[in-house]
């Protein structure tokens, strides 16, 4: 059973909400986590195979060589913590995730390797944002002091840190709205169709199709048709 909301936690939440950059959000998380023996933190969502490894990375202080090793060996596909995350709504410790022994020895080695960087114990807070990807804030350290109060406090800190970091990221990369027609036209253009062909499919004249493409280019602030298609993909207006 968790207890009261301490004033130290409220102070940390206030500092997180006022943080001017994603980096500063991370610093506040580190400062708060020290109380519980946390030395490392990471907020991200596992990248899918078609995404850059740091596509969803918000803030972290993972040791660079561990991060590189993790990425270059594609550990995200086998990491027991990622697999546990994808089926968890609620926070869990690394120890809890490994109970039941459902992971292969070679996959468990990923967890063991992290010890070399001082990450012997971990606590993962799953976060389901609007985008649909399962994000998580992971806290790690040599020895974590995690009673129910600490877990509840870290859960709260993780949610506000994620929320603040996303706010800042959204402001930096504001979503570009497209009209339905612009998105339709770009979807067909992405399949290699000419303006005339798109026009035949959608029942528009090719000059109207051209105008929709030009309008979409202006919205994204790009010069070419290919760039507009790539931007539309990135913003989720069309499918690959």
């Amino acid at each position: 059973m968790s207890g009261a909301l301490r004033v130290e936690v409220l102070d940390a939440l206030n500092a997180i909400e006022r943080a001017p950059s994603i980096l500063k959000v991370g610093e506040q998380v580190r400062r708060f986590g020290e109380t519980y023996g946390i030395s490392h933190y990471l907020c991200s969502a596992p990248a899918r195979p078609d995404e850059e490894p740091d596509e969803h990375l918000l803030f972290h202080n993972w040791p660079p060589d561990w991060f590189d090793r993790y990425v270059s060996r594609n550990y995200v596909e086998r990491d027991p913590m990622v697999r546990t995350l994808l089926s968890s709504l609620h926070p869990f410790t690394w120890g809890e995730a490994l109970e039941g022994g459902r992971f292969a020895t070679k996959d468990l080695e990923i967890v063991h390797e992290a010890r070399a960087w001082g990450m012997c114990k971990g606590f993962v807070v799953p976060i389901y944002g609007l985008g649909g990807q399962a994000h998580a804030v992971t806290f790690a350290g040599r020895d974590l002091r995690l009673d129910p109060q600490a877990r509840a406090e870290l859960h709260l800190i993780a949610m506000y840190a994620y929320g603040r970091a996303k706010q800042i990221k959204r402001r930096r990369d504001p979503p570009v709205p497209l009209t339905r027609r612009q998105a339709e036209v770009l979807q067909w253009a992405a399949l290699g169709k000419s303006d005339w062909e798109v026009g035949e499919v959608l029942g528009l004249s090719s000059s109207t199709v051209h105008k929709h493409v030009e309008a979409a280019k202006r919205r994204f602030g790009v010069a070419t048709r290919v760039q507009a298609i790539l931007s539309a993909l990135k913003h989720g207006h069309i499918k690959a």
Binding site: S2, Y128, G129, A152, H155, Y162
Partner: protein, 220 residues
């Protein structure tokens, strides 16, 4: 379209309320497994579904696609009666100027025309419009913790009243969402609309017809 159903007009909306109780049963009892709410008649109705409740119900024709229920906190409500232990920072709010939101959900549109985010976004915009009209200070909520980051990442401010607290079906948290033009504006940006979703804030009158056409952008 969004419907506002309250004490004044509920008699005209009994069918809509009924279908919304049935969708709630599907969402909370069958899908989320809240067994305590199960009733043999296939409706999900509790002690807070009374004359004090105001509902925002998103329906296309007869299909209820989402809803939320509001109760003034000077009346019996979820936080005061069932989850008072979730608020440790301050006493549970009990004032006509704070309304509690409960049973906030969306479901997949069987026709695939309206996205769940659109339904949720419309209800959030309408909630702040309604709050401003009634000069509320805040909307209070006891919700599953996984809802909270979605508010926060859209710049909708939520102040915790306590720590995340386990309950029978998960982990919940008590929060206050201040009612302000900034909050409405954040909800509108998140929804991608510039103007009123349900009614012009200053023009809301509970005696007016509650059926208002949702602008075309809502049907995406």
């Amino acid at each position: 379209m969004l419907h506002l159903v309250n004490r004044e007009n509920r008699r005209r909306h009994l069918d809509l309320l009924e279908s919304h109780y049935r969708v709630r049963h599907r969402v909370y009892v069958r899908e989320r497994g809240w067994k305590a709410l199960d009733r043999p008649d296939g409706r999900e109705v509790d002690q807070f579904d009374n004359e004090d409740a105001t509902y925002l119900i998103w329906a296309r024709g007869k299909d209820v696609l989402g809803a939320a229920r509001f109760v003034p906190t000077d009346k019996p409500h979820l936080m005061s009666d069932i989850f008072p232990h979730t608020a440790t920072l301050a006493p549970v709010p009990r004032t006509p100027s704070v309304w509690e939101i409960t049973r906030f959900f969306s479901v997949r549109d069987p026709a695939g025309e309206v996205s769940r985010n659109a339904v949720i976004g419309d209800i959030l915009c309408a909630m702040f419009e309604m709050g401003l009209h009634h000069e509320l200070e805040a909307i209070s909520v006891v919700c599953d913790t996984f809802f909270l980051p979605r508010f926060l990442e859209q710049s909708i401010q939520a102040m915790p009243l306590g720590l995340p607290t386990p309950y029978a079906e998960g982990v919940c948290i008590a929060c206050m969402l201040p009612v302000s033009h900034e909050q409405l504006s954040a909800a509108r940006v998140a929804r991608g609309v510039r103007s009123a979703v349900l009614f012009p804030v200053a023009d809301l009158d509970p005696r007016l017809p509650s059926r208002v056409e949702v602008p075309a952008h809502a049907a995406e």
